[in-house]
């Protein structure tokens, strides 16, 4: 028999942000009922595994949690990320053909710096997985395709300057939905131009429109990029019954997408139509991953007559696809110094709003423009936390395949920042050696963690 599809189903029935929050215990309840009743976990093509916890170091490899991992990350988050890691290991070992981490809480709005919960996310499950795969197996090129109705702004932030991680997100246009980002001009930093591809779509897209995008844009780009590993950030709020999104995708549409995308790993993101969408969409995706017939997975509410896409929507989709096709075709015509306007450092200022905790973060991001590597990143971030405390931190990140001079310069910056009284905490993340440092000014304490 060919290899199986691995599943980790972790509904976290004992964890929620708050009792009536859309991201609550009940979210995967009906999915569980439908999956169990279908007997899907008994199928010889599907193998279920127990979740495990991501280590604090696995998280520190990706995020700068302020003030530390313990303050921002609960057991539930570590289990969700750990599930993705566990399935990643099994795919790499050749034990399973592909996998689905059907987990909550979700993660794709969690950015590199974490002051609190953003869009129901604290840590980015996909990013934790990707950095783990690179460190453990040296996987070079990874593609993340985000199919959530919301822009995967957290994942974009983390890999914005990383030319080896292709991030493609289609979503409902940011002018009409949280988090208000994800436009076609957000294409990645100078050293990673067009390794971020955003496909903002008008509300009202149906399966046919979505598959137009798949066939004419996403699949051709993936074919060019030739990733060694494909992660699907599998949000299901594009569903026609979702209370947060205004798209019209069906379970069949999602299943066919999965069949075309052939992700090595799908990780559940959003999806808040917990009765009308999730049981059917999750089932259809799982069947599609396992190569089983999903054609009878049809939502009770589905009425084909109501699913004609408006011509206006169709033509807008065509326009966005065409624009991005052109950008992709010309991506090699730009050189990183031109993109960085001739300077040695590329800099941007980012105001970041945490909708769950009403935190406003001010962040300045600087990236060294380097010939040898994608350049080290330094961040100056400050925010008031809900407890009234103000934190200003400096965070430095050395890329996975960094050059010697970037590495040396980054460590030097870390040492310098330790002498700067403006910063309460100084972090250094050296992905090339898998080392993580925290310096806490109060009490002059320094902690080091090695993978």
């Amino acid at each position: 028999m060919s290899k199986k599809t691995g599943v980790i189903f972790f509904p976290a029935f004992d964890w929620a942000i708050s009792p009536t929050h859309p991201e609550r215990e009940e979210r995967l309840l009906y999915t569980r009922d439908q999956m169990f009743e279908e007997g899907i976990l008994d199928l010889p093509e599907i193998q279920q595994y127990a979740p495990r916890m991501a280590s604090k170091h696995d998280i520190a490899r990706v995020h700068f949690c302020v003030p530390n991992v313990e303050e921002q990350v609960l057991d539930a988050h570590r289990i969700a990320a750990g599930a993705a890691i566990d399935l990643g290991d099994r795919v790499m070992a050749g034990e399973i053909a592909n996998g689905f981490a059907l987990v909550r809480p979700p993660g794709h709005h969690a950015m590199r710096v974490v002051h609190g919960n953003r869009g129901f996310c604290n840590i980015n499950n996909e990013a934790v997985l990707v950095e783990y795969l690179r460190k453990t197996y040296g996987v070079k090129k990874i593609a993340i395709v985000d199919t959530d109705v919301h822009h995967g702004d957290g994942t974009q932030d983390i890999f914005y300057h990383d030319p080896d991680v292709l991030f493609i997100s289609f979503h409902q246009d940011g002018r009409t939905i949280y988090p208000g980002t994800g436009f076609t001009y957000e294409l990645g930093g100078p050293g990673a131009y067009a390794s971020t591809i955003n496909i903002p779509l008008p509300p009202g897209v149906t399966d046919s429109g979505l598959h137009y995008v798949m066939d004419h844009l996403i699949l051709p780009i993936l074919k060019d990029f030739q990733p060694d590993f494909v992660v699907n950030s599998a949000g299901q709020d594009n569903h026609f019954t979702d209370p947060l999104g205004r798209m019209k995708i069906t379970a069949q549409g999602y299943a066919r997408l999965t069949e075309k995308l052939k992700p090595n790993l799908a990780v559940l993101e959003g999806g808040y139509a917990i009765e009308t969408a999730l049981p059917y969409v999750n089932l259809a995706i799982l069947l599609a991953l396992a190569g089983k017939d999903y054609t009878s997975v049809v939502e009770p509410e589905y009425n084909p007559a109501k699913f004609k896409e408006s011509p206006k929507v169709t033509s807008e989709i065509g326009r966005v696809v065409e624009e991005l096709q052109e950008i992709w075709a010309k991506r090699h015509q730009f050189d990183k110094y031109t993109l960085a306007k001739g300077t040695g450092f590329y800099q941007r200022t980012k105001p970041i709003f945490y909708d769950t905790h009403y935190i406003e973060e001010k962040q300045i991001e600087k990236v060294r423009v380097c010939d040898q590597c994608s350049g080290f990143i330094s961040l100056d971030s400050q925010a008031y936390h809900p407890n009234g405390k103000h934190y200003r931190i400096c965070a430095i990140s050395i890329p996975f395949q960094s050059c010697k001079s970037c590495q040396a310069e980054a460590w030097e910056s870390y040492e310098q920042a330790k002498g700067d009284p403006h910063f309460d905490y100084i972090y250094l993340q050296d992905k090339s050696t898998d080392t993580f440092m925290i310096y806490q000014r109060l009490g002059n304490r320094e902690i080091r963690s090695d993978g």
Binding site: I8, F9, F10, P11, A12, F13, D14, W15, P19, T20, P22, R24, E25, E26, L29, Y30, R32, D33, Q34, F36, E37, E38, G39, I40, D42, P44, Q48, Y49, A50, P51, R52, M53, D75, A76, I79, P243, E275, P279, Y280, L283, L287, K292, D293, T295, S296, V297, V298, E299, P300
Partner: protein, 560 residues
């Protein structure tokens, strides 16, 4: 006094227990007519014991297992209502299936009504095919059985003499394919099982035994004989449960033990975790199909004392089949039993022939007899140990759905390796040594399975699901669907569930066994509409504690 009888494939074992002491044991060959063996075993036990002293009799029987294995049952027409979801094409290959339109969803709401015109069609199909046994199963029928009831009533109205079984009565848990298997097997075996229960009653009456008779289930619990007629499939695979419970009774309470039952051609492994046998996470499997029958986790390794050993090139290979008895007992081929004889670990059979067997294997390689014997024993141990490790890994991979479950899960390794069965003395000490455990060969090991049956407790479980938004509740085991009377909070939901357990115990005449009720699951989910909580879903499961009625003796002989 308690009687336990295990009707196995080759032997019928019986014990008579008084408190923690074994008063009598019997071992007779199992006849084609099970009742002759039962009668023989009973008569052997009861010599000089007045029948009124017997308080309880528990049987473990392979009857239904064999009926199913040998397909000795009437064909069953299968009518399913699969609704939206999987296509179940694989299922249609295995059974003759008629699909009806009509669907219920996960909360028990009708989403597609039954199509009345199809009722006539299904009837015509059943008649044309000549079925008079019919299984009717709907997806989510345990949450709302109205479709099943309607179809079954319709069929019965036209054919009152037909046997029609409904899914929600045959298996109460979520899992449509497993529920189909349960319903079909219940339908197929009930009639034959009734002959058996009737004959058991006759055998008891003829010996003036008025004690309650129980049947052992695959999960190590017991069912009163009469109740078991409703669910004959529950009696499958009770053999391994019997020996596991036996080991539990013969070892100190609360310990973690690996049970190794070494037979002629198979070795069964089971796990007792802190005094409780581990249940399989999936139901018992028949052929390639899972059922909803709860069973202990038992792993079979295809190797035993009578497995055939051959030399291939420079290696010895153990085959899983049996070609007759061991060479030292007059058989045609060398076996692990011969190796044990040569090693001086066992005294079974002729020593010279055992040496001859080793010589046949070893001479072409220039190996001495002891060397060959050691190699064979090692091979057997390797096979068993590999399977033990796999079993632990599988156990560690059992899913967890709550944060606390993941956190508390830790690596557990056994303290003891407890051996029962023919080859136990030969292999268990070395298996234990390999695993760093204490080897135990308990007294009465040859009848451990009968002891297990004798001490098994009746187990009762009730799963309740209440939905306050819809003001309904269901009790899975009873196939009950009712209205909630007013408000329900978590506490009253638990109380309601417990009251159903007591009712069930009363009905089965088991009230005296229920002095404590355990809550094994208690989930509450808010139903939220537009950011408002509009209701609550309660999932409550309670049971009488699992366990055994008595521990026997001092808990086994520790080997040097």
């Amino acid at each position: 006094m308690l009687i336990g009888i295990d009707v196995g494939g080759t032997c019928t074992d019986a014990v008579l227990l008084d408190g923690g002491a074994v008063c009598a044991t019997a071992k007779v060959e199992t006849q084609d007519d099970l009742l002759i063996s039962l009668g023989d075993a009973l008569d052997n036990l009861l010599k000089g014991i007045p029948s009124h002293k017997i308080e309880r009799v528990v049987f473990s029987t392979t009857l239904v297992t064999n009926l199913i294995a040998e397909k000795k049952y009437d064909p069953v027409g299968v009518v399913i209502m699969p609704g939206p979801g999987r296509t179940f094409s694989d299922l249609r290959d295995q059974d003759d299936v008629f699909c009806l339109n009509g669907a219920i969803d996960y909360r028990g709401r009708e989403i597609i009504p039954l199509q009345p015109s199809q009722m006539e069609e299904v009837l015509a199909w059943l008649e044309a095919k000549g079925y008079n046994k019919v299984a009717v199963i709907g997806k989510f029928s345990t949450r709302n059985n109205s479709h099943e009831v309607k179809v079954a009533d319709f069929i019965n109205k036209h054919h009152p003499d037909w046997q029609v079984e409904m899914g929600h009565r045959a298996g109460g848990k979520l899992n449509f394919p497993r529920r189909i298997a349960n319903t079909v097997l219940t339908c197929a075996t009930r009639q034959k099982y009734r002959y058996f229960t009737k004959a058991v009653r006759d055998a008891m009456a003829r010996r003036n035994i008025t004690a309650t008779v129980f049947i052992l289930k695959a999960d190590g619990g017991t069912l009163p004989l009469s109740a078991s007629e409703e669910v004959p499939v529950e009696t499958i695979f009770s053999g391994p449960a019997a020996s596991t419970l036996g080991v539990q009774a013969l070892t100190p309470p609360g310990e973690t033990s690996l049970v190794v039952d070494i037979g002629g051609t198979t070795t069964d492994l089971a796990l007792v975790l802190s005094g409780n046998p581990l249940l399989a996470s999936k139901g018992a499997k028949i052929g390639e199909r899972y059922t909803q029958v709860r069973a202990l986790a038992v792993h079979s390794v295809p190797v035993g004392g009578d497995s055939v050993v051959e030399r291939v090139g420079k290696e010895f290979i153990i085959y899983s089949e049996r070609m007759g008895p061991a060479y030292c007992l007059g058989g045609p081929m060398p076996t692990p039993t011969d190796a044990l004889r040569v090693m001086g670990i066992s005294q079974i059979g002729d020593e010279d022939r055992a040496h001859e067997a080793m010589t046949i294997l070893g001479a072409p390689l220039g190996m001495g007899v002891r060397e060959v014997a050691q190699a064979i024993v090692n091979l057997v141990i390797d096979m068993v140990v590999v399977e033990i490790e796999r079993m632990y890994m599988e156990w560690e991979q059992e899913p967890a759905y709550r944060v606390w479950e993941v956190i508390q899960k830790c690596k557990v390794r056994p303290q003891n390796v407890v051996g029962v069965g023919g080859g136990a003395a030969g292999f268990v000490p070395q298996i234990a040594a390999r695993l760093g455990c204490t080897p135990i060969l308990p007294p009465h090991a040859p009848v451990a399975n009968a002891i297990g049956a004798a001490v098994a407790r009746p187990t009762l479980q009730v799963n309740l699901m209440a939905d306050t938004e819809r003001q309904i509740y269901i009790v899975e085991e009873e196939g009950y669907q009712g209205q909630l009377a007013g408000k329900l909070d978590e506490l009253s939901a638990v109380e309601l569930t417990k009251s159903w357990l007591l009712k069930r115990a009363e009905k089965m005449n088991l009230r005296s066994y229920v002095d404590e009720i355990e809550i094994i699951n208690q989930d509450v989910f808010n139903v939220v509409r537009d950011w408002q909580t509009t209701g609550r879903l309660f999932h409550i499961s309670v049971q009488t504690p699992r366990g055994i009625l008595a521990h026997i003796g001092t808990g086994g002989r520790f080997l040097p």
